[in-house]
Symmetry: C4
Subunit: 488 residues, 4 copies
Amino acid sequence: MSELRKWDAKEVAKHNTPESCWVILYGNVYDVTDFLPSHPGGAKIILQLAGKDATEDYDPVHPRGILESSLPLSANLGTIDESTVAKAEPTVANNPGLVVENVPIANLLNLNDFEAEAKKKLSEKAWAYYFSGADDLISKELNNTAYSRILFRPRVFIDVTKCDLSTTIMGIKAASPLYIAPAAMARLGHPDGERGIAIACGKKGIIQVVSNNASMSVEDAVDSPVTQEQSWGFQLYVQDKREKSIDILRRIEATGKYKFVVLTLDAPVPGKREHDERAKNSGNLSLTSGVGTGTAAAGGGGLGKALFAGTAADLTWKATLPWLRNATKLPIILKGLQTWEDAKLASEESNVAGIVLSNHGGRGLDTAPPSVHTLLEMRRYCPDVFDKIEVWVDGGIKRGTDVVKALCLGAKAVGIGRGALFGLSVGGVEGVERVIDIIHEEMATCIRLLGAGCIDDLGMQYINTRALDPLIWRPENDVLEYKLKAKL
Amino acid sequence: MSELRKWDAKEVAKHNTPESCWVILYGNVYDVTDFLPSHPGGAKIILQLAGKDATEDYDPVHPRGILESSLPLSANLGTIDESTVAKAEPTVANNPGLVVENVPIANLLNLNDFEAEAKKKLSEKAWAYYFSGADDLISKELNNTAYSRILFRPRVFIDVTKCDLSTTIMGIKAASPLYIAPAAMARLGHPDGERGIAIACGKKGIIQVVSNNASMSVEDAVDSPVTQEQSWGFQLYVQDKREKSIDILRRIEATGKYKFVVLTLDAPVPGKREHDERAKNSGNLSLTSGVGTGTAAAGGGGLGKALFAGTAADLTWKATLPWLRNATKLPIILKGLQTWEDAKLASEESNVAGIVLSNHGGRGLDTAPPSVHTLLEMRRYCPDVFDKIEVWVDGGIKRGTDVVKALCLGAKAVGIGRGALFGLSVGGVEGVERVIDIIHEEMATCIRLLGAGCIDDLGMQYINTRALDPLIWRPENDVLEYKLKAKL
Amino acid sequence: MSELRKWDAKEVAKHNTPESCWVILYGNVYDVTDFLPSHPGGAKIILQLAGKDATEDYDPVHPRGILESSLPLSANLGTIDESTVAKAEPTVANNPGLVVENVPIANLLNLNDFEAEAKKKLSEKAWAYYFSGADDLISKELNNTAYSRILFRPRVFIDVTKCDLSTTIMGIKAASPLYIAPAAMARLGHPDGERGIAIACGKKGIIQVVSNNASMSVEDAVDSPVTQEQSWGFQLYVQDKREKSIDILRRIEATGKYKFVVLTLDAPVPGKREHDERAKNSGNLSLTSGVGTGTAAAGGGGLGKALFAGTAADLTWKATLPWLRNATKLPIILKGLQTWEDAKLASEESNVAGIVLSNHGGRGLDTAPPSVHTLLEMRRYCPDVFDKIEVWVDGGIKRGTDVVKALCLGAKAVGIGRGALFGLSVGGVEGVERVIDIIHEEMATCIRLLGAGCIDDLGMQYINTRALDPLIWRPENDVLEYKLKAKL
Amino acid sequence: MSELRKWDAKEVAKHNTPESCWVILYGNVYDVTDFLPSHPGGAKIILQLAGKDATEDYDPVHPRGILESSLPLSANLGTIDESTVAKAEPTVANNPGLVVENVPIANLLNLNDFEAEAKKKLSEKAWAYYFSGADDLISKELNNTAYSRILFRPRVFIDVTKCDLSTTIMGIKAASPLYIAPAAMARLGHPDGERGIAIACGKKGIIQVVSNNASMSVEDAVDSPVTQEQSWGFQLYVQDKREKSIDILRRIEATGKYKFVVLTLDAPVPGKREHDERAKNSGNLSLTSGVGTGTAAAGGGGLGKALFAGTAADLTWKATLPWLRNATKLPIILKGLQTWEDAKLASEESNVAGIVLSNHGGRGLDTAPPSVHTLLEMRRYCPDVFDKIEVWVDGGIKRGTDVVKALCLGAKAVGIGRGALFGLSVGGVEGVERVIDIIHEEMATCIRLLGAGCIDDLGMQYINTRALDPLIWRPENDVLEYKLKAKL
C-alpha cells in the first residue's frame, strides 16, 4: 500500500491531462488516469475537472460507495492540504440547505406551483435534467393534456361524508393508489435525496419505487423507514454486464425493504432530451461519438445520456424474463408498455405480476402515446388484462383529478415522478409531504364530488372520454387481426 | 345582565389571544372567547382581528341578525369609546359608495365589459371570491365556450316586428326566462347587496334566487319588492344541524315572498378554488386542518371553504327528499345535476318540480361537464324529462345568444350568477338593471334574427350542435344499458 | 319664401337646443328643429352639432339630394358668413385626398395588407363601422377560417397554359365570378365613394351591387360607366314606408344601369356591432331608447343602427315577394339565406332568380353559419337548387383561393364587401382596381395549379372539405324529416 | 472582334438606361442593351444595376457559363479600371466566408436550431427566398404539423442493439432513405453552393437531387464526388423551348453522375410567395406585367417568379412523357403528385419509375395537401401503387421521427430541402453534414425505441394516424366512383 501523503493543490493542478489526470474528492487525491476510459459518463466530464476539487460536481450524482467500488486502492494518493485548494467552478450547482424564503410551502397550492418554485431554486443543469423531454415535448405535453380532456360525470344526492383512499398495491397496503415513480438523481435537487422522498412516503403511507440511477445507494435510500411495514419497489435497468444487475438485485433483496422489481423497457436507448443537452452545452464541448449509428452525436449528450452508459438494449421476452425470474424471487413488473398488444403479451407471461403504462415521462420517443391512450386501447382490445395483472400508469399527473381519471380507466396505481422531485427540491422531506397531501386532498374532493366513496367505487361510469376516443388507435379498415407479435 | 360600560380601545387590545378574545363590532365590545370553536369560518380569522375593531371585515360577509343569534347577551361587554379606537387594517376591503368615474355604465356594452370594470373596482379578495373556479378553470371556461361553439340556423323572410320574451317559471309570470342564480356574498361587491339585485329584478320583471350564503338576512333581501307580485326562490344548503335548515325554511315561508326552494346538490364538499385561496394567503396563515381525509388542507381555504362550514354532505334521494317535503310546502327544485341519469331520477320523484343543470359555475369539480353537455345528453337519452319537469341551467352565460341556445336545447329558465354580481359591483341597482337590459336586448335581437317571435317558438331547429356532439358522453360500445342508479 | 340673409356664426350658435336647433351645411344655415324627431339617425346626433357647421360630419354619410328632399324650403334660413364660423370638432373624421405615403399600392400584396393599410388611414369611426361584426366576432372569423380549412386536390400533368376567368352572372357577361357586394357608406373611406368602386369595376369588367345605404345617390353611383355594357345590381332594404322603396326602385330603373335587385333578408333588425357602438361612445352619450323590447339600448347604437332606421322587419315570403314583383320588373335575388331549407324555398318561388348565401359579413347574428357551411348543407340536402337558381355567396373572402373554393362548392358568383372598401380607402379607384387584380391573379394561379382552365371546370373533385364536414348541420338522429317551413 | 480597352467607371456609369445599358461583371464591362428583353428575370432588375458593378448581385444566382452562353462576344467591351469603381449597393447581400461565431455547429441540436441560425446569417433576400411559402403559409405549416399529429406505437422487450438505416433508392445503395430534395439557389446561402451539399451527401452516403435552378452548372455541382459510386438525380423543369431541356439532359447524361431524372409537375406556374416578393419590394418597383391573365402582377414578383421565366405550363401525360422518354434513357420520376388519382395514373405508365408526393414545400398552391395526406389517401384507395413504383415524399420534414413516420406510411425515400440549405448557410459542407447526422441520429433513436431494427421493419403497425384520418379526402357520399381522369 502506497504511502499516503498530504498534497499541495498546485501539485495536483498539474495533473490535468488524459495522460495524467488527478482529481480531489472529499479531501482525498485520486489518480483517475486509468479509470478515464471506463467512466460511464465519459472521460470528458472528468477531464474538465482534472487537477481540481471535483466534489461539488461529483457528489449529487453519485451514490455513496461507488467511488470505492470503481477505483483500486492504489488510486488514492493521499489527502489534500485544504488550505491550498482553489475550488473548481462548479458545473453542477447543487443547492444544499435550501431555505424557503418568500413563499411558505403551505402557500404552494398545486403541483404547478411547486414546479414554478423549483425552477427558481434549482441549478440550470438540475432543472434541465428534471424538466426535459424528448425532442419537441409533444408527448410530455400530451401526457398531461390527455387527462384534461377527459370530463367527469358526477352523480349527486349521495352520502359522501366518508371518503377512503386506501388500497393495496402488489398486496401491500397503501394509503392511496398514488406512488412515487422512479426518477433519477434526487440529490441534484436537494441533499435529502431519495431518502428524503422515502421518509415523506413513509409518513404519508404511500409506496416509492427507487430509481436504478438514484443518487444514493439502494441501501441508503431505504435506511430510515417510518414504519416497520414501509415498503419499496426497485426500478431495474438491466446492464450490459449482467453481473452488475445480479449484484444490485442481491443488494436490494438483502435490505428486506424492496418488495418488487420494476423492469424498465421503454428506454433501451436514451431519448433526445434537448433541454438537458443544452444545459451541458453551456460548456465548450466538441462532438462526442454517437449512439448506435456511428454518426456524430447531437450536442454533448446531457446528463440523461451519461446515465445510460452500460444499459442493455438487448432485452427480450424470451431471454430476459426467465433470466430475471432466476435472478430474483421478487414480483416482477414491466415498465414502459405503450400498446395493448404488449399489455396482452405481458398478461400471458406467468412471471409478470404487473405492468406500468409509461412513455418514460415523455423523455424517450417523442409523439409516443400518453398512458391514457394505452388505457383506452386496452379497454377496447384487451379489457381482460385489467383482471389478470395490475396495471399502473405514470406520466403527466398534475392533479388529484388526473389520478382519479386513471383509476376510473382501470389503473391500479398511479405514479408521479417530477412532482416528487420538485417537492423535494423546494422543501426537502416537507416539500414531498406537501405534494402528497395536495394530491390526496384533490383526490378526496374529486371522489366525493363524483358521488363515490372509495377507490373501488371508481369506474368508467364516472368519466366521459369522448374527446380522446377519436385519437385512440384503430386497426386499418377497423378490422382487428390479432397481430400481437411485434418483431421478436 | 352585566353592567354595560364604555371601553378604552387599549384595554380591548389586550384581549387578543385564544384565552381571551374580544372584538369591536358596530361600536360594541364583545367577548367571543367561548364562541371561537363554533365559528363556521374558523377561529383563526377571528383571532387575526382579536382586540380590534372588526366591523369592516365582518359586515359585508354576515347578514344582519346573525350576531345576535350567535352570541349570548352576556358576550356584549359594553360600547367602545370611539375616540380611542385604532381601526384594524381591513383584510376584506369593501368599496362602499362606488362611483363610476371614467366609464359611464351606459358605455359598458356586454357582460365582459362589466367583468373587466368590476375587476378594477373590487377588492382583491372580493374579486378572487367572485372570479374563482375549481383547479385549472377548465370547467369554468368550458361553460362559456360550449355556447360559443353552437351555431345558429337563422330563417329569413319572416315577420319579426314583434318579439315577446315573457314566459312563466314555476308558474310565476316573468319578463323573460333569465333569472339571477344564487350567488353568495353580494355585499362584498356593493353595499346594496342582495337587496339591490332584488330591486333590479323587480324593475325588470325577472326572478331572483337568493343564496343560502347571502350577506343579508333572507328577510332583508326581499323587503323592497318593486311590485306586489315580485317573487323569489331560495337556495338551500342543508346543514349538518338540520334544525338550522328547518329554521331558515320557516323564515322564508314567513316572508310570503319566496315561492320555491332550490336544493343545492353539486357541492356536498367545497371545490378547490385557488384564486380564492391565494387571496387569503396574502396573509400569514399556517396550515389548517383539511377536509375529509385528515390531511393538511391546501392553502388557507379561502372564503369559499369558510362558507361551507356546517354544510351537510350526507344528502340522499331516499332520506333527504322526504325530509325536505316534510319541512316545507314550497315547490322543490334540485340544483347541480350533471348527468342524464340524475335528471331522469329526478323526473321520477313526485316531490321534484324542477332541476337546475349546473356545475356550480365551474367552482366545484374541475372538468365537470358544462350544462350544455348535460342538455345534449338528456336530449339523446331521456328527452321525455323536458316534458315532466322544468329544466333550468346556469353557468357560463355571457350573451343573450347563450340564453337563446339553452332555450333551444330545452331549458325553461337560464341563470346568471357572476354577471349580476359584477353588475352590482360596478353600479349597484343600476348596474344590475343594465346587465339585465343587455341580456334582454341581445336575446330579442337574436330571436328576431332567427326568424322567431317568442320563447315558445324556440327549439332544436334553430341550432347546429355538431361541434359539441362528438364530445357528449356515450355508453361504452355505444350500448346504453339502463344504469340509472349510481352508488346509492 | 323667406328672405335669405347672411348669418353671423355667433347668432347661429345660440340655436343649440331641442327647442331651437340650427345647423350650418355647405355654407347654408338651416333650422332643423321640426326635423329632429324624424331624423332616421336620431335627434341626438344632430343636437351634438347644433349651432355649428356640421358639414364635415354630414357629408360622407348622406347622399346628394337627401337634404333637399328631407327639409322644406322654409328651413333654409340663408347663408353663413364664413369669416365668422368656428368649425365644429368633427366627430366623423373623413380623410379626403388620401395620399399613399410610405407604402406604394403596388407593394400591397393581398387583402390583409389593404386592411392593415386602411386601418392606418381611416378615422376611428369609419374603421369601426367597416371592421365591426356582431358580438364576439365569431361568425366574422368563421367566415374566413371556413375557407382556410378546405384543402385542395390539385391534379398535375395537365396543360394549363390557358386560364379563363370569364363567366356570366344573371345573364351579364363578367370578367370573373367576383363581384363587389353591397356595403354602405363608401364615402366614409374615400371621397370617390361608390362611384369610385363603380369605375374600378368597369375597368376590370366585374359587377357591383350598390348598397341601399350608399353614401351617394343611386344615380350618382353609376353615372360614370367605363363601357356601354357596364351593369349594376341594387341592394334593397324594404322600408317601413313602402312608398320610399317604390320610389327608389323607380329611380334605379330609370337609370337603365341596374339589371337586378338584391333583396336583403338577413337584417330585419340590426346586429350588435360593438366596435361600431364603441366608436360612437367616445362621445358623452346617455342611454337611448332601444330596439324592439322597450329596454334601454346598449351603447349609443353606432352608425350601423342609425342606418337601420325605417327598415322594415315584416317581410314575408307570402306578402313581400309578390309586392316586389309588382314594384319592379328586374330579376330578384334574395340575400342573406343561411339554411338549406330557405334555399330550397327560394328555389320553388317563380319570382326568385337567385340567392345570396350570407350572414351579413358576420354583422348580424353572431354564431350564424358562414356561407361555406350553407353551401355544404345544400350539397347534402338540396343539391338540385344549384341547377334551378343562381347561388351566390359573400363573407370572409380574402384570397383568390377562397373564391375558387366557393366556386368548387357550387357558387355562381362570389362577393367581397370590406375588401373593396379597404381598397377604396387606401387608394380610391386605383386601390379598388388593385384589390380586384390581386384576387383575379390569385384565382388564375389557383385554377392553373389545380390543373383546371376555366370556371366551368371547377367542381367538388378539386376540394377536400373533410375538416368542415363534421360541423355541418344534421337533423336530430340523422333522420331528415322534410321541415322546410319555419314559423311563417 | 472589337478592341478591348480598359474603362473608367464614370464612363460606364453613363450607360444606365434602356437605350444603353452597360454593367460590370467579374472585372469586365458588358453592353447588355440588346439582351434586356430576353433576360429570364426581366429587364428591370438589370436596369437597377445599369452602369454599375453588378457582380455581387449576379454571382450567387447564376451558374458558371451562363454569361458566356447568353451574350455575344461583341457584348464584352473590355475590362474595368478597378481603381475607379464605385461598388453598387448590393440588393442581394451574400455572405461569403461565413464564420460561425457564437454558436458552434455542434451545439445546434436540431433543424429548428439551424433554421434560426440561418436566419441570422442570411441576407434578407436569401432568407425570404428560402423561407417563403404560398399565400398564408397554411400548406407549409401543415406539411410539418401533419407529422407531429401522428403518434407512434412503440413495442418493447425487443433486442435493439443493432439498427441499420441503409436502403436502396432507384437501385442505388444509400446510407439511409433520407435524400436532399432539389432546392434552387444554394449559393445564395453559402459560396460552397450545390457542390457543398454534394460533398456532404457523399460523405454521409445519401443521395442528392440537383435543382434545375441550381446556382452552379450541372457539371460543377457534381465534380467532386466523395466516392466513385456517389450518384445524383436531376430535377427537370421542362422549358418552353424544349431544345433547352434536351440540351440540359444531354449535359447531365454526359457527366455519368446523374442516375435519374425528376420531372417537376407541381409548378406549371409559380405560386404566390409573399415573403419572397416583399423582399424584392424593398426596392422602388413599379407594377410589372403579370402571369397568365393579363392583369397586373402582385408586387415585384420575387426571385421565385424570376426563376420561372421560360418554364413550360403545357406538360401532359400524353405528350410530355413519351417526349421525355425519347430525350433520355435515365429512369423518370414524377414530382409533385398530390392525389391518389395521379399516383394511380403514374403507376400505370410504363415509363414512370417513381413518384414524389410533394406540394412544392408549400410554395405553390396554398391549402394544397401535405404529402402525409396523400400517403394516407393512397393507402386507402390505391395501396397497390406502393408495390409498383417507388413513392417518395418531401415537405415539412424537421425530425428523424418525421422521416420514420413517412417510411411507416409506405414512403421509399424522404427528402429535405430547406433543411439542407439552412445547414449549408450556417456552416457550408460541415453544416450540411451536421444536418444529415442529426436526422440520422434521430431516425436511429426512433427506430430502436419502436422496437425495430432496420428500414424494412417499418410499417403501419408502428403508427397511429387517427388524428389525421378524419381529414383525409373521401368521395362525396363515401362512394368511390373510379374517376381517375382529371381534365386531360
